[in-house]
Symmetry: C2
Subunit: 455 residues, 2 copies
Amino acid sequence: MSDAVKFILAEQDIPTHWVNLMADLPGDEPPPPPLHPGTKEPAGPEDLAPLFPMNLIMQEVSTEPEIEIPDEVREVYKLWRPTPLYRARRLERALDTPAHIYYKYEGVSPAGSHKPNTAVAQAYENAAAGIKKLTTETGAGQWGSALAFACQLFGLECEVWMVGSSYDQKPYRRSMMETWGATVHRSPSDLTEAGRSQREHPTGSLGIAISEAVEVAAQDPHTNYSLGSVLNHVLLHQTVIGQEALAQMAQAGEEPDVVVACVGGGSNFGGLAFPFLRRVLRDGARTRFVAAEPAACPTLTRGVYAYDFGDTVGLTPLMPMYTLGHGFVPPPVHAGGLRYHGDSPLLCGLVKAGLVEARAYRQNETFEAAVKFARSEGIIPAPEPAHAIRAVLEEAQAAREAGEERVILFGLCGHGNFDLSAYDAYLGGQLEDPQFSEADLEAALASLPEAPALT
Amino acid sequence: MSDAVKFILAEQDIPTHWVNLMADLPGDEPPPPPLHPGTKEPAGPEDLAPLFPMNLIMQEVSTEPEIEIPDEVREVYKLWRPTPLYRARRLERALDTPAHIYYKYEGVSPAGSHKPNTAVAQAYENAAAGIKKLTTETGAGQWGSALAFACQLFGLECEVWMVGSSYDQKPYRRSMMETWGATVHRSPSDLTEAGRSQREHPTGSLGIAISEAVEVAAQDPHTNYSLGSVLNHVLLHQTVIGQEALAQMAQAGEEPDVVVACVGGGSNFGGLAFPFLRRVLRDGARTRFVAAEPAACPTLTRGVYAYDFGDTVGLTPLMPMYTLGHGFVPPPVHAGGLRYHGDSPLLCGLVKAGLVEARAYRQNETFEAAVKFARSEGIIPAPEPAHAIRAVLEEAQAAREAGEERVILFGLCGHGNFDLSAYDAYLGGQLEDPQFSEADLEAALASLPEAPALT
């Protein structure tokens, strides 16, 4: 076992392929397909063609175990990849735990999170297909920043609908997108039918912002839409994280007993976990997986497993997933990237199959964990991965109670430099702590569309 | 020559010693000593003892060529060091220049700049000496954040006076310091005599904030003061930057023809340049050095070389340096870290000796350079190093005009995540562009204290 604090890979160690977990799913049945929102028949590649370039659609439906990363994408990855993996020795001491805590840190990217891993791949494929502009939504602004950055590198225009509550809380994320040349709108906006139809929800939601961006992209053949999570090809692009982490854990001379990551749409979780999960599926490795989400938007822990729209208005295909109902507008918690009614169908299937355990945390206990982390490890985490840190504290305490040298690996998917107003509120005792209610759940169930039942 | 984008060192490559340029200065005469503010006699170690622990004072006056880095400090350095060195290939293409542009990036530290390199060393020595609290000033907030972080790691209280204009422009830097457990005051404050005497300068200045922090530290034997730049021991601690850069340029297979860094008090410049400068002094290497500063606070390019106070009120020793007069309050440009009337005596001596060339840049041309950099390299620079980038663009253009493969190395000492309101103003055409005037210079000369003349 290494006594190092930081595990570093060289530029040539950037993965050459993405890991496609679709090829290794358990069971004989293929996962349930997405359905066309009108016909409710299985949606094929041609249904996605108005929004995405064919290369990304082929990645979306691929069952190949690995997909090669284009050289142009790897070349951009070099600006920040490989990212460091840390042993959190100071946190371990602060917690007085025998657990060994490791974290993979994606905050070193220009946009400050894991999001550029897919933004760059998506911008590249769209530019290669002759597309001139990408539209998208953003919650906390991490995805919008990442796409603004990527579009700038490949000469694409970028237009972003930013969830209203985050737009108000994080003005500097907007400035960041504009510095990289993007145009940013507060969502719901008056620019789209979808936005105008949601004026009664002024704080907005990811679902509403998606509707706006999709509506605009669908109207122009030179404009495509880009999604920062949920879809198979997005999770695929993020698997560079887990592949590097596998190599770095080998450097450290340890195997994780448990892998922890936060879940909004699932791309951060999938990116870190899937390469480890593939070993479980292929070789019977005994790793546990924990998905951490906000108690105010508890998709995996309280949602129902059903077909639902990916957006609020109902423009996208119906996807098989845990959902709180596409009409659910989560309260404006600071983890803007986790305010989504659904989750990646691929991840939901794994939760359903019992391969991934989901846990939900309240906002205040999450920030308590974040401050503890910041004061021992230095890095101030974004509110999203602070949910993972909260779960790690539980695991570390369990290890102490059991007297076990448990090895914990978690994903620190972004820094909190743009979230300091939330820290301000927490430190001042002013942070609200919304909870999901039974009434929310009833409303969610009522808003589900007519569709075939899932088993 | 390597074709890599990023040059990485391993944890064990963190330097074991700091480089003390005092041992290699040119000429037979020692540099002029600091003077006691009352007697105007050379100030000795005992004069500094009320503010600093003896180990730091010994570093301040040392003429040993190298000083060993304590293990406890190197252990903390591992949280972010070694920092990466980049070849700016995308910027080179955007500029269509034959120059090879390299940058050493210190923004990967928890506080987002080079400042923790010395903050950690200072907090360690103070804690080891039994001190309970450190006071300090901060401009843009980078230094205050760094000291807050370092104090947290070594169990010290931290009290920061933040320059008023930056306090207003950068509320999240204050939240960051508070997240790490520090107490932050807007300067000028009502808490000190120095602050109360400067109410007519509500935007504040580094000089005023220094006076406040020094006043408080001098009154309590368990409280010391900590300075983020200017002093010899601070520049000393920063030489880890240049030592790593030397090793990384060797990896790249190139020698810099010119080394560029911004100057506020001189620690970023000294940290990068001094290990390269030592080679010039010892081996006759032919490297040029360019110090970039704001035209609104042009200490090196317009100041006079004279004894002056380090702070506004006149509590510190008189230091031999280029100065705009300790009474000069720079306009509130966004490069808050560069708003200082004086500069490191060590650096000033090198400018005087013709070993370092100084250049001054206006605020708008500096942000123009910063946006160009952000849109090609991804990283959004802090306004301070954006001055260095402006100088790099000049060097790159000169290389193109001369048809030369000039090798340029510059210090990217911090990211601009907390400076996006300034980018907002620039992109919106609202950025002011203050200039230093002849009247400013006359006032500066008039404010100089009685002291022996410098030659």
